[in-house]
Amino acid sequence: MNIFGVISEKIALDQSDKIGKVLVYIYLLLFFCFLILPLIALMSKSMQNSDGEFIGLANFAIYLKEPALFSSFFNSLFVAVISTVIVVILGFLYAFALQCTCIPLKGFFRLIALVPLLSPSILAAIALVYWFGNQGILKSMLMGNSIYGPIGIIMASVYWTFPHALMILSTSLSLSDARLYEASEVLKASKLKTFLTVTVPGAKYGIISTTFVVFTQVFTDFGVPKVIGGNYNVLATDIYREVVGMQNFQMGAVISIVLLIPALLAFAMDQYSRKKQTAQLTSRAVVYSPKPDKLRDTILLIYCLIITVYVVMMIGMAQFGALVKFWPYNLSLTLEHYNFEVAGLGWNSFFNSIRMSLYTAFFGTIIIFIGSYIIEKMRSDKKMRDVLQLIALMPMAIPGIVLGLSYIFFFNMADNPLNFMYATMSILVVNTVVHFYTVSHLSSITAIKKLDPEFESVSLSLKVPVYKMFVRVTLPVCLPTVFDIFIYLFCNAMTTVSGVIFLYSYNTTLASVSSIHLDEQGDVAGAAAMAMLIVYISFLVRGIHSLISVSVLKRTQAWRNI
C-alpha cells in the first residue's frame, strides 16, 4: 500500500507527477547518449576492420592468436588477484583494529588510511620509483628483482586501494552485534574462536564486496602500471598502446571488451552477494563496544603504525622527490620542478584540472541527487524508473579506460550531432560524472530512503508542489550527503587518469595526465611535483569542506542534534 502502487492511466496527473515524468525521460535520454551509445560504438568498433567494414569476431581471433597480447590478460589477472588478497587481509586487520579493539589514536589512524584517496594512484608508483627504482635508496631490499613490474604494480595498488577496502570493511565490522560477543563469552569460547566464529562471519559480506571492488580497481587500473609496470604489460596499458601508440583503434576496442568482461562479472557477483545480505543490524541489536586486551591491542597498534609508516613513506617520498634538485646526486631542495618544463602542460593543466573537477562536482551532484530522488520518490512510470536504476548502477562496472575509449569512438563520429563536444572541457566533465556516477548515486539513494515516504503525499495534500518540497525539505535534510557527494566527485575528478587519458585536448590537459606524461618523458621529479599539486588541492578542498560542514551544517542541521 505504498505510494509506488500501480497507477492506472485514468487519473489526471499532478503537475509534480508531470515534471517527474518528463525528468525520467530526460535522464533516460542522457544515459542513452552518454553511456549506452558510446558502449555500442565501442562494441561495433571491435567488430570492424580499419576501413570500418563489419568483420564479425575476426579481431578477437587475431587477439587470441597473439601471445604478446593475450599474456597481458594473465598479467592483469595476476596483479589483481595478488593485490586483492593482500589488501583484503591488511584492510580487514586495520578495520578490526579501528572497530573492535581499544588502541589509542583511532581517529588519527583512520585519517592516515584515507590519505591515499586524496592522491592520484600514480603517486605511489612515483614514490616507489624513488624508493626502489634504479636509483632508489632501498633497491637492495628487492634482492635483485626490479620494482618495474608486478612487484611495483602490486605495491602501488595496495596503497591506493587500501582506503576503499577499509571503508567497506569498517562499515561491515561496525555493524557487529554485541549480543553475539556476549553469547560467545558466556559459552566460554576463546578469543581466537570468537574472532573466527563471530567477527569474521559477521563481516562476510563486507569481505566479499571488498574483494570484488579491489579486484576490479586493480584489474582495470591504468595509471599505476603505466608508470611502474616497465615491460610488464597489462590490459589497460595495452589499450593505451594500441590506441595512442599504434592507432589501432579496433584492437583497442577488442582489448577493452576483454577488460570489460571480468569487470562486469565481478560487478554481477558483488550485486548478487549484496542481495543475499539482509539487514544485519536489526533494531534490537546492541552496538559492540570492545574491552581492552593488552596483547591484542599492542600488536594491532604496532600493525597500524606500520601501515602509517607505509602511507607516509609513499606520500613523503613523492613530496621529497618533487623538491629535490637532482635525485639522487644532489639532494638540495628546490622548487624548480614545479616550474614544469614542458610547455602547454604545466600549470595550465593544473588549473584545467581544478575547473574540470569543480564542474564535475557541481553538475554531477545536482544531476545525481535529482536523479536518485526521481528514481526513489516518483509515483508513475515504475518500469522506466527501474530501467533508470539499473543503468545508474552500470558505470561502476565499466573501467574508466573503456568508458574513455568508447567516448572517443562515439563523439568523434563525424555525423554525430554531439560531435561538438569532442576535445572540449564538456566531454571531460560528462565522462567523469558518468565514470563516478554509481557510488554517489547509491549514497544519495540511501539518504533519500531514510526520508518518510509520506512527505510527498503530505505536500500534495497541502497543495504544495513536490519540487517546492524538494527545495524546502528534501534537499536541506540531505545536505550532509549532498556535500559528501560533491567532495567525492571533486577528489575523484582531480585524481582520475584512466577515464580522461584519451579525451583531453591541447587546451584541456589535466594535472593527473600531465603527471603521467612528465614521467613518460623521464621527468620523474616533475611528475611527482604535479601529483603533489593534486594532493595539495584535494587537502585544501577537503579542509574547506569540513569548515563549511561545520558552519553550514550547524545552521541547517540544527534539528538533528537536539
Binding site: 500500500m1 505510494i3 502502487g5 500501480v6 497507477i7 492506472s8 485514468k10 487519473i11 489526471a12 496527473l13 499532478d14 503537475q15 509534480s16 507527477d17 518518510d452 509520506e454 512527505f455 503525499s457 503530505v458 505536500s459 500534495l460 495534500s461 497541502l462 497543495k463 504544495v464 508542489p465 517546492k468 524546502r472 525539505v473 536541506p476 535534510v477 541547517t556 542541521q557 540544527a558 534539528w559 538533528r560 537536539i562
Partner: protein
Amino acid sequence: MNKEANYLKIHQLNKSFEQFTALEDVSINIQKGEFVCFLGPSGCGKTTLLRCIAGLETQSSGTILQDNRLISRLPTSKRDFGIVFQSYALFPNLSCFENIAYGLKNQRWSKYAVSTRVEELLELIGLSSHAKKYPSQLSGGEQQRVALARALATSPSLLLLDEPLSALDAKVRVYLRQELKNLHRRLGLTTIMVTHDQEEALSIADRIFVMKDGRIMQSGSPEEIYANPDNPFVANFIGMTNFLEGIVKGPMQLDIMGKIIAFDCKSFHEGEKVKVAIRPEAIEFTQSSKKEDGFSGNVVEIEFLGSFRRIHIETSLMPNELMIVDKPILEKSKKKIKIGSELNINISSNFLNIYKKDK
C-alpha cells in the same frame, strides 16, 4: 436517508494490484460532519480505500464524489482534504510553526495572516509554547497534534486520518482519541479515520465500516455493530464472541444443544443448522441444581483483567473451544468461582445472534 446530506459518495470502487484485490466493489456514503472509522485487520483494504479518497492510490474502477463533485480522477493536489499519517511525516528540518504554516505559505497568504492562523491552530492543539521547537523535540503525542494542525491549516472540508494513534503509548492514545473527538465536535469536520483497533473505533466513531479482504462487511453505529453483528466475522472482530451450534425449530424457536430458546428465526427455515453467537458478558451463571435448566461447565482458567474477570469454561456447549464469560469484579456471586468449579450456564436471548453456517 437524505440524499443531499451524503457528502462523500463512493460507488462500486475496485482496486487490484497485480495479483491482489485490495478493494472489491466498495460502495459507501458518508454524511457531512460525520466521524467515520474504517475498521479491519491489516490487509483488509482500509488504508487503500483512504488513499483512493486522497488520490494517493488510483482505483481500478468506480467513482468517488465529494460534495457532488467527481473527484476520483482528479490528482491529489486538486482534491480537498487534509491528511494525518501514522508516521505523522512531519518535516524534520522545519519547526512546529513552519510545519503548520507549510500549506499556507504556498497559498500566498500574507505573513501576518499566516502567523495568526498558525497561532490559532497551535492554541487549538494546546501547543502554543512549542512553536519554535523541531519535531524531534516533541513527544509522540505532541507530534501527532502538530501533524493534525498542519492538516487542518488550509481549512479542508474533509479530514483523513491513517492510523493516527497507532504509534503512541496506550495512555496517550486513549487521551488523544478523546481530544480528536472533542475537536471533531467543535469543528464539525467530516472525518474518516482508518484503524485496526476496535476499541478506538467504538469509542470515537459515529459510524463504523468494518472491512475484510477489500470488502465492507458491515456499517453502522458502534452500538449497532456491537449488538447486532451482521456476520460471524464482525461478531468475532468486534469484541469477543462465543460460537455455539444451533438448529432452527420454528419461527420463534431456536434449539441450542437440546434447549429451546425463544428467538426470532424468521429468516431461516425450519431444521436449518445455524451458528449462534453470544457475547461473554451475556452469559449467566445460575444457582439451580436442576440439570435440565441449563448447561454445566468447568472453570479451567480465570484471567483477572481489572474491572472484570474473564472466565474460561470447558463445556459441552462448545466441544472444540473454551467458552469465555466476562464477569464484573463488583458483581456479587453467592458461590465463589475458582478454577475447577462446576457452574450452571444459562443462555438467554440477550446479545444473541444467529448466522448461516458457512459449510
